[in-house]
Amino acid sequence: MSTASARQALAPLAALVILLSLWEGIVRALAIPTWLLPTPSAIATAAAREARPLLDAALTTGRSALVGFALSAGVGVFAAVVLSSSRLLERALYPYTLFLQTVPIVAIAPLLVLWFGPGARAVAVSSFIVSLFPVIANTLTGLRSVEPALRDLFRLYGARRLATLWKLELPAALPHLFTGLRIASGLAVIGAIVGEFVAGFSEGSAGLGILVLSAYRQLRTDLLFAAVLAASGLGLLLFGAVSLAGARTLRRWHPSASSGGNPT
């Protein structure tokens, strides 16, 4: 690692240390009760004490988010391909995909419980619904971004519809597709946690959403903070994995691969 990149990594770390020290100092100085605002050290202690349940909850939520994300990726790309296959279809159906973006997931989560029963399945579906739209929208943009000259070229060589899709449109859409997947990865975790608030009660192990709720009811604010941190850690993990997969896929040929691309 060069000194420049070491310094780059050091800057946010230093900021974190300063912030945490300030937080710790102020809470102690003003004697703010732990149930209102715990100190970072109290949060760390709670996290260490409850490491096992936290890890179990993170795994449960992670599994639901992963299922939701995988569904989004598969269904989203497929839907975008279908929509892009005809102007008419796109014009007829695309406006309705906007519902996906505006749907208040908390409001329809009870429906999901009715349809899928309480538990992991309803949670995964909630995660799926929340994370689907960016995959469709970005993949569609990508499929439409193919240069006209390349379409002409494929036409000149008598390419079949499927060959054009497979060898031209989908590869050309990959940078946009990965942008969509990166956005979806974060949303999938959010969707899973929101889903758990409403639908997460079941015989099996409880997810982070449930942990947040029960910590709140018991006013164990330190544990609540720990659970929230675990949730954002989970989102970061999934986001990082998708980003890495995207960078590796696009490495050879896409100029934005190294800079991470621009989200839509």
Binding site: L150, D152, L156, Y157, G158, K167, W253
Partner: protein
């Protein structure tokens, strides 16, 4: 990836005499775009089989439109467009027409070799065979040792060469080029011109070459057709009085200057029409 090595030049030479160039006849050709812009009207042009014809004309006069019509990428609104011998454009066959754009338009996710092999791949030619053909044609444009590289790693001139190789890999009977080397520096451009002319002499396909450069047209072509402002008419149709063997120094000779001046005057006449 283990690739079979191609015999040095096998797949490119025309397999029989009939496979050389194609003759093109345009008669009373018309193209009006939706919105009412008539770009071509009453255009007459005949291109002999195996000849090298350059098209010159003011910007926006319809050169690209004409090329797209000939390529079958667009349909005329009137008139006829005949090839002899006729070109069958059934699916799965090797495309008889190739088109080179102003930019290379390579697929960035494919290696140089797989880019050059694309037309054969779309025609269903099996992997080893199409890679051998692509290797041979890349060799021919001077990219024999760049086959494993990716477009992002190439210079503009190299990319254009890949584009040319891709066009030639099907052994087309008609090669259409739309200002193909315009984005290159002077030196790369004349090198590519020289390479293109050598390839034409070797392969014998018909070539239609659109350019804005009088010098390029003069050096390359046997015959130059100068078009007028839109709707494009033929202002000058001249078979150049230049030796068949074109060397780099031809550009400084008196005959070259004379032909260039004729083309220049015709271009000005066409602008003023």
């Amino acid at each position: 990836m283990a690739l079979p090595h191609a015999p040095a030049s096998a797949p490119l030479a025309p397999t029989d005499e009939g496979e050389g160039g194609v003759r093109i006849q345009l008669s009373d050709l018309r193209r009006t775009f939706p919105g009412g812009l008539t770009v071509l009207e009453g255009l007459e042009l005949e291109v002999a089989a195996g000849s090298f014809v350059a098209l010159l004309g003011p910007s926006g006069c319809g050169k690209s439109t004409l090329l797209r019509l000939v390529a079958g990428l667009d349909r005329p609104d009137g008139g006829t467009l005949t090839f002899s011998p006729p070109l069958e454009r059934t699916r799965g066959e090797r495309a008889p027409i190739a088109y080179v754009f102003q930019d290379a338009h390579l697929l960035p996710w494919r290696s140089v070799l797989d880019n050059a092999a694309l037309p054969l791949e779309l025609a269903g030619v099996p992997g080893p065979e199409r890679r051998a053909a692509a290797r041979a044609v890349l060799e021919q444009v001077g990219l024999g040792d760049a086959t494993a590289r990716y477009p992002a790693e190439l210079s503009g001139g190299m990319r254009m060469r890949v584009s040319l190789a891709r066009a030639l890999v099907t052994r087309p009977r008609l090669l259409l080029l739309d200002e193909p080397f315009a984005a290159l520096d002077e030196l790369s451009r004349s090198r590519l011109d020289e390479q293109l002319r050598a390839l034409w002499r070797e392969l014998g396909m018909t070539v239609l070459f659109v350019t804005h450069s009088i010098a390029e047209a003069t050096w390359l072509a046997e015959r130059v057709v100068v078009l007028s402002r839109r709707p494009a008419r033929v202002v000058l149709d001249r078979t150049l009085e230049l030796p068949r063997e074109r060397v780099a120094t031809l550009r400084t000779e008196a005959a070259f200057a004379r032909e260039s001046r004729l083309l220049h005057e015709a271009l000005e006449r066409g602008e003023a029409l």
